[in-house]
């Protein structure tokens, strides 16, 4: 029993971290129509920022200031928001897909910098031993449950923050921009300012998610932030859950993460059962491309046949 339970708890923690990313993206895309494909980059910035601040001194990387985790997470969000601000300045006045290309570029640049500048984050070997909250409890069997609880509380907090902000004149302007920028500008709204706010706030949540990941896994390296996993999965989660629908976004995150890690679980199981090492080796080899193919097919099918997501129409807001 405890095996399955602890598997479910880890599943829940990761799905929860993804739910935070999905909520951030929903603010940007679902409510404002901003196309961010640099999610992995904002996530990475957050993960590294808190690692630098909260870890003890180490020759392997920058920082090592031993600050409290709460503070580290705060800075994760702030730094990520700052990068979003800098990216938004040149691109948000232009056609919408320029933002997509620019965020893609920033995510790639961030990954390359952390890969090649060993003094910064120990290059490809990554940073290990990032502190966990209430570390003295970390050996306890229920520790992950505690972590899950923290994540859960943060999700609830973010959910209410976004819901309240969206159900206001501010949110109304964001939605108007999503529907028709030109009209929104013609009725006196400073479209650029609102787009920038939405981009920055959404990216702050992404940075926070990165920070949480850092403290949960205790190890980060540039490989983790490959565009595939974080950017694409988050997009699929949001589209499946229904963009513009915060509960749908959270549900989408849990559902896609369950499919994603469930498929890994299944292939692992198959690989272990098979006695022939050749067969199990082959299964391991095809597992990673196969599940990405699965996810991309799901995405195309949803786009073609359920464009409002599987949880149905966008609710009247």
């Amino acid at each position: 029993m405890s095996g399955i339970l602890s598997y479910l708890i880890t599943l829940g923690i990761m799905a929860g971290i993804f739910a935070i990313l999905t909520l951030g993206l929903n603010l940007q895309w679902g409510f404002t129509g901003l196309f961010n494909v640099g999610i992995a980059g904002f996530f990475a910035i957050g993960a590294y920022a808190t690692a630098f601040l909260t870890k003890g001194p180490s020759p392997e990387h920058l920082g090592g200031l031993g600050m409290p985790i709460f503070f580290g997470l705060l800075i994760s969000a702030v730094v990520s928001g700052l990068i979003a601000f800098l990216i938004g300045l040149p691109t948000l006045k232009l056609k919408e897909d320029y933002l997509a290309i620019a965020t893609l570029g920033i995510a790639e640049s961030i990954r390359l910098i952390f890969t090649n500048e060993a003094w910064l984050g120990n290059g490809n070997r990554g940073i290990k031993d990032i502190p966990k909250p209430w570390a003295e409890l970390s050996a306890a069997p229920y520790y992950n449950l505690l972590f899950l609880l923290i994540i859960f509380i943060i999700i609830v907090f973010i959910y209410f923050f976004i819901e309240k902000s969206i159900h206001s004149p501010w949110g109304r302007v964001l939605k108007a921009i999503r529907e028709d920028e030109l009209v929104t500008a013609s009725v006196g709204k400073n479209v650029f300012r609102y787009k920038l706010e939405s981009l920055v706030i959404g990216s702050m949540f992404m940075g926070l998610a990165g920070g949480l990941y850092s403290h949960y896994i205790s190890f980060i390296s540039p490989d983790v932030f490959h565009p595939m996993q974080f950017t694409f999965l988050v997009w699929v989660m949001l589209i499946l859950g229904g963009s513009g629908n915060n509960l749908g976004a959270i549900a989408g995150a849990f559902l896609v993460w369950a499919i994603w890690s469930g498929s890994e679980f299944l292939t692992d199981l198959l690989a272990r059962i098979s006695t022939d090492p050749k067969v199990s080796g082959m299964i391991t080899n095809i597992q990673s491309p196969l599940r990405i193919i699965l996810i991309s097919v799901i995405l195309e099918l949803v786009l073609l046949y359920r464009p409002d997501g599987i949880f149905g129409e966008k609710k009247i807001l």
Partner: protein, 286 residues
């Protein structure tokens, strides 16, 4: 330095081949196709497959170009065509899905490891100014040059080509020329993806083949397209060369790992200074 410029011209040729297709589909269908890099990779791997059947190299290149053209048309037919009435960003998301699909099918079939077309080691020829160039590289430059000339003739002389330019410049004009849009779109995918396949094969020849190769050139080809002005094939040619040469020359000053960061920086500069690109058309109603 002369050596770096030659390397830049080689990379530039590859980027040009990739960016012509991207700029045409961007201009005509009005969406940024994030799968274009992976189309290049698919072409490169198709060529590897034909070489495995002992098909002569040039024949393998031509076959791969044809099949990749078909692949592009097929993807359009299955996915993009049905999403065309939606906003351009929905198409963009769909193209990211298509990109991952292609890349992982490639990885499933050919595996994640690096591969080369040939295990022979080529002797570089020595030219004046201390330039060294391999026969493969001469082939890349010559073949790209021929392909670009062919594209130029196609765009200037043929009815379809003229309509393509008109359409990518301004939707309304095409009605005047009187060719149905769907037919032009068909040809655009065919032409763009065939060129992308050639670019991918040359990239494989110059560096090596990996499933991620298409993703890695995506940023440079986007930079070339935006630098040249979206929808302008001649702009893409100029933009591709500029990006290729700047990337290589930059390695004299900074870590070569940052080549794609260099193209990204150029892209941001263009967006800041002249977002419509060097050959870009004028504003349209947003």
């Amino acid at each position: 330095m002369p050596q770096l410029i030659i390397n830049g011209i080689i990379m530039g040729s590859i980027i040009v081949l990739g960016s012509i297709g991207l700029t045409l589909t961007y201009g005509i269908l009005n969406f940024a196709n994030f799968a274009h890099g992976d189309i290049m990779a698919a072409g490169a791997y198709l060529c590897l497959f034909f070489l495995g059947l002992n098909v002569p190299f040039v024949v393998a290149v031509i076959l791969s170009m044809c099949i990749t053209a078909g692949l592009g048309i097929l993807i359009d037919w299955c996915i993009y065509r049905k999403l065309r009435e939606k906003t351009s960003v929905v198409l963009l998301i769909a193209s990211i899905g298509a990109a991952l699909f292609l890349r992982n099918v490639v990885q499933l079939i050919f595996g994640p490891q690096l591969v080369y077309y040939s295990s022979e080691i080529q002797m570089a020829k020595k030219l004046p100014f201390g330039i060294r160039i391999k026969p493969d590289e001469i082939f890349i430059i010559a073949a790209s040059f021929l392909l670009i000339i062919a594209v130029h003739l196609f765009l200037k002389r043929s009815r379809i080509g003229k309509a393509m330019r008109a359409l990518s410049d301004n939707m309304q004009l095409a009605g005047v020329i009187g060719i149905e849009t769907e037919k032009i779109i068909f040809w655009t995918w065919g032409l763009g993806c065939a060129l992308a396949a050639a670019g991918g094969i040359f990239l494989g020849l110059e560096v090596q083949l990996r499933p991620m190769m298409g993703w890695d050139v995506l940023l440079p080809i986007f930079a070339a397209v935006i630098l040249g002005g979206i929808g302008s094939p001649y702009g893409a040619m100029a933009g591709g060369m500029i990006i290729g040469i700047s990337q290589e020359v930059s390695t004299a000053f900074i870590n070569p790992a940052y080549k794609s960061v260099v193209s990204f920086m150029i892209l941001i500069l263009v967006l800041l200074i002249k977002p419509s690109g060097i050959f870009g058309k004028k504003e349209r109603l947003a």
